[in-house]
Amino acid sequence: MTREVLSVRDMVVVFDEFVALNGVSMSVAEGESFGLVGESGSGKSTLLRAVAGLNVFESGTLTVSGKRYEGHRRDRDFYRTVQMVFQDPYGSLHPRQTVDRLLLEPLAIHGFTDVDARIARALDEVGLGSGFRFRYSHQLSGGQRQRIAIARALILEPKILLLDEPTSALDASIQAEILNLLEQARKDRGLTFVMVSHDLGVVSHMCDRLAVMRKGEMVETVSVEALEKRAFSQDYTRQLLVASEGFRRT
């Protein structure tokens, strides 16, 4: 059996009085691509943010590559292993920094020395030539920005990538390009993905296994093959599946 790299046990996240995550567990194996689906407010993004240390979790355990983490404190090793790509490419890049500066920052924090070569290579890898290096994010389209966000995540050569709705702010045609890029990166580097999306089509395309979430709880975990064969037990999963098939006049 493949090694488990990311494990969450009985995680609870509370915002003031509101229980956003109520005892959620997941286990992701090395090289696996794991999907989280659910509607807004189901806690799927909260789970991802709690793993990344952007939210505090009250109780439960988080283990990444055999190391335990608590609260929102993460060490440098953690961020060398885990990087995140956010939903809105318009909101996740610093508006007053050039692409060069954006990509330099993680390298500087982690003490890399061959920065020039790394930045050039990172831009190449996401299909943007070095011509983009000294532009500002407002000079780029949504798809190009998301490529920069992916380059920034990959530049530290992480093992695990957390993807929070990476394509839901993009057009259908651009979405295909970004999904292909992510898949290629995963193949080349043997990455582990945890991907959040409300679109079952996207998750089933990208992932091997997926968890359906609702109201802060995990409703069920199914493999993509089982999903295709309609071999799931929960009615809510079926509702999501119907919704993903598009509008039908009744």
Partner: protein
Amino acid sequence: MTPLLTVDDLRVSFPTRTGTVEAVRGVSFTLGKERLGIVGESGSGKSQTGRAIMGLTPGHAKITAKTLNFDGIDLLSASAAKRRSLRGKRVAMILQDPKYSLNPVMPIGRQIIETLKTHENVSSREGRERALAMLEAVQIHDPERVFDLYPHEVSGGMGQRIMIAMMLVCGPELLIADEPTSALDVTVQLEVLAILDRLVAERGMGLIFISHDLRLVSSFCDRVLVMYAGRVVEELPSANLAAAQHPYTQGLLNCLPTIGSHRHPLPVLERKPEWAL
């Protein structure tokens, strides 16, 4: 039957420091009491087409057309006052994100009544009754409570239903929906579309549905215009989507990941410069 809306050779251009940007370059179509979909990527000019019909193009833009006619009214030569009287009353528009398109400092009920009072001579009581009836028509179960809420107190799906209520309260003949469900969850999308679909059918309006999602549009509309770089590259009845000829239309159809189709990598659009000619 005379068409409700005639658009012939519509052009919208924006002067910029680096030269003129032509957002819409010669779009023509006619619309009766039917559902027309306009599909294209960002920057294809689909939204600017809708906005030009609505009269919401920024002031510095240049609009020309051989004909831009709504029910016998020439929209290009109509006065600002005339257009104001059309907008909201006979032609209405639903925008993408209710978070930005509703007034954040006015209760929902008052916003709906505001539309009514602008166009009709109604008493406060009648206004309130019609607003409540409209909220009920978009399947809001406790309209009395929602009436007094502010937009930040409702969810995205509810916000978009309120937006629909506000736009339909005056009984428009033409409704332009610009990505009405793109900001919503998949499950909520279907609810909102079903409500929109029912109201459009019941009240017999013309609908222009603008979206980047070709499958969604084709399941919702009778006819689809596919736009690329400011032009209509293909016009299709929705039922014949599979028979699309233009490689751009085929590309838009194929690039969506679906459950059960294992295509790795996904086919991507190859945009050929000659399509834009």
